[in-house]
Amino acid sequence: MLARIEVPRQARRGEIILLRIAIQHPMETGYRPDNFGRRIAKNVINNLVCRYNGVEVFRAEMGSGMSANPLLQFHALAEASGEFVFEWVDDSGERGSERAAITVSA
């Protein structure tokens, strides 16, 4: 699954930083018919977790009310240099992940 993330490369300790993720995914509601009138099975990214140096800083449990190609923006407190890891899974069991490093100065 193709995704884009935005994590600042640098931050000062104690700074509140903005984290963004956008994932290419139809977020199928389960209510939509295909061109032959058959119902397309529900398939949404139901869970996304963002960890900062192994600690969970954000979790999204999502349903069919989330838009296609979901965008999520949230925040984290910069504490130490390290890595942000985003991981997610959809109803079909397909998984995706992205990671980015951050350097935190005193």
């Binding site: 935005e6 956008a22 290419q24 838009s67």
Partner: protein, 251 residues
């Protein structure tokens, strides 16, 4: 009622260019303008990102990627899309970016052409067109493309479908006016492939044009058909002065 307010001077207009064309984004609301302006929030950039990956991925029996010949798209593809559709010298046929990509695949990569409106072709087209973002449309008229421009113009002014409407009736004579909760745009293609909220996806200009045919209850020409290519060429010429916005965001 609607038809009664239209008509008159439709065929008198010879000018192929609008005096001061306004991009569709100028007719969009604040939320859509903000979505297009923010490269991260713009979902069309996901297709551009996929296109960049495909650009660098080997394809076909040649086992060559686009980048193997064209190198860095940021320089080699800069301004290219602004000059399309154009005549393919080898075949003498009019091609748009989608057609150019598929010809390149067949001739140079020994790869099967990508299906029109497939995710791969949309991604590559969006990626190539994106390299011209901000550059003015630069389609010129010459002896070779003149018959196509003429046909495109005919289509643009031709009333059709159960609603008996031509492109010009809505997108020129009534541009800027309200149709239900919508402002009618001038119908420019400079932002395509574009992400449309209605599609919940990125789609080609031909998909958008087909939607207009459907809207006036006319028979939709096939993707990549001569009719849509000629119309695409005419629209590009008519939009001279606008810049490429790919990937645009539209309602």
């Amino acid at each position: 009622m609607f038809a009664a307010t239209l008509g008159g001077g439709v065929f008198a207009a010879e000018a192929q260019r609008l005096p001061a064309p306004k991009s569709g984004i100028a007719y969009a609301g604040a939320d859509i303008r903000a979505m297009q302006a923010d490269d991260f929030a713009n979902p069309g950039m996901l297709w551009v990102a996929r296109g960049e990956k495909l650009w660098n991925t080997a394809a076909g029996r040649s086992n060559k990627s686009c980048a193997a010949c064209h190198r860095d798209a940021a320089s080699s593809m800069k301004g290219i899309a602004a000059g399309y559709p154009r005549i393919d010298v080898a075949s003498g046929k009019l091609v748009n970016i989608e057609g150019r990509i598929n010809r390149c695949r067949e001739r140079n990569q020994s790869a099967d052409p990508l299906q029109y409106e497939s995710e791969e072709l949309l991604a590559l087209t969006a990626y190539v067109a994106h390299q011209s973002r901000g550059m003015p449309l630069a389609v010129t008229a010459d002896a070779a493309n003149r018959p196509h421009l003429e046909r495109g113009r005919e289509i643009y002014y031709r009333r059709q479908g159960q609603m008996n409407l031509a492109c010009v009736n809505c997108h020129e004579q009534n541009a800027g006016r309200k149709l239900l909760a919508e402002t009618i745009s001038e119908g420019h293609g400079n932002a395509y492939p574009a992400y449309r909220l209605e599609w919940q996806a990125t789609g080609s200009l031909h998909r958008r044009l087909r939607a207009c045919y459907y809207g006036v209850r006319a028979v939709m020409p096939a993707y990549g058909s001569d009719e849509l290519l000629d119309l695409e060429l005419y629209l590009a010429r008519r939009a001279a002065g606008l810049t490429v916005e790919t990937p645009g965001v539209r309602r």
